[in-house]
Assembly symmetry: C2
Homo-oligomer: 242 residues x 2
């Protein structure tokens, strides 16, 4: 039986403040929860309206009614499974080959989409500035489509990291060099900036190179969305064999 | 003075049903409204809490209070300007050079992001299947960041169009040929499918080629988001000079 106070507690984890306080986050939906159950994460509670939807090797769950799920859920249309997981201990950034760094990305959908991109393009780790949106935000988790289980996310001071790193950093910038004309080094850090303001001055000053995606035709479009720009840059990185 | 019935009418345009019925749509925010006022569109009403925010050449507006704007708006945090525009007469699809076609894209954020991508990469027209989300949906408009003013959108039967067209169609498909190894023809139609189901069987049967973006490393990621996949494919198209 799931009591009122437990429902209220789970609902509170929609907010970053309570996720931090308790070291827990909530994941919803059959696909996302099953991906996380197969990853190296500790489930603290798994709730479902239909146990057949969970991966067969997982047997420790509570069956709940649709109306209890509705009360626990942060979604308008809850999707049969909800689980509470422990937030992994925060890890040290370990730079190998290519790493993606995010400098103040604020939109949960963008961060989630970028995590999914890194999973696709084989980038094992994302380093986020402290002011980047929390990767355990429910909207981020939804947008990752489960890729959060396979990409390591580290929050730290980007400026400190870049200063101490022997890897050179390339940053996306509207006035940078044409990415199609460049060869990527065999290792490095690719930095993407905030949706409205781009890369901060502090981090910008530490870049070895600024790169851009050429615009075509007479458009007056000001920029690409940060997730789509990341898609193009990671595709270029992988196409060229780095 | 903006009366209660007018507020109610404007609010009703959040729904596709009332947009279709009245041939009108609502745009919100300083940037988006100013971009649309400069485009070839007919404004039926422009409301602002601060007239200095509108482009100077535009002088026919009503000044309203924050609380009236709040009542008219579909946004949680309304952004100072709201305008009602006439939906342009639906145009014939005219195929030149490269055209993007969307087969059942449902998510407003994805469609808006794809419109912004086409603006950036110089694709003047998007052809949408009838079941693709309405491009005058407020969430689509927000995600376009004003690019809706510069990209022509046509809704039609994709199957009929492809059958009648002399341009060959390439479609994004998980099992398609590696896009990095291919040369694009000088003209064509690039088809992107639905978020969950990809390209429909009917449209798939009319494709000249299926293309894919190679996955890197050991990930079990199932797919890329349709907007980020479109970003990579349009980048490849332009990089190769088509």
């Amino acid at each position: 039986m799931v009591g009122k106070s437990q429902i209220k507690f789970i609902k509170s984890l929609q907010l970053k403040k309570y996720r931090k306080l308790n070291g827990l986050f909530v994941a919803e939906g059959v696909k996302l929860v099953n991906e996380l159950l197969q990853a190296d994460l500790t489930p603290e509670g798994v709730y479902t309206t239909d146990p057949k939807l969970l991966i067969p090797q997982f047997s420790s769950f509570e069956v709940i009614s649709e109306s209890v799920l509705q009360k626990m859920s942060g979604l308008k249309t809850p999707n049969k499974v909800l689980a509470v997981f422990r937030i992994p201990e925060s890890k040290q950034a370990v730079l190998e080959e290519w790493t993606l760094a995010l400098d103040g990305v604020k939109d949960p959908g963008n961060l989630g989409t970028i995590i999914r991109l890194c999973d696709w393009f084989g980038i094992p780790q994302i380093i986020c500035s402290e002011d980047t949106v929390d990767c355990y935000n429910p909207k981020v988790l939804q947008a990752t489509m489960g890729s959060i289980a396979r990409v390591k996310i580290v929050y730290t001071s980007l400026a400190t990291l870049l200063k101490d790193s022997e890897h050179s950093a390339w940053g996306a910038d509207m006035h940078g060099e044409n990415i199609y004309d460049l060869r990527f080094p065999t290792s490095g850090i690719l930095v993407m900036g905030n949706e409205a303001h781009g890369i901060s001055d502090e981090v910008g000053a530490l870049l070895a190179k600024k790169v851009s995606i050429p615009q075509v035709g007479p458009s007056t479009a000001e920029s690409l969305n940060v997730a789509t720009a990341t898609a193009v840059l990671l595709s270029e990185l992988r196409r060229k064999g780095s």
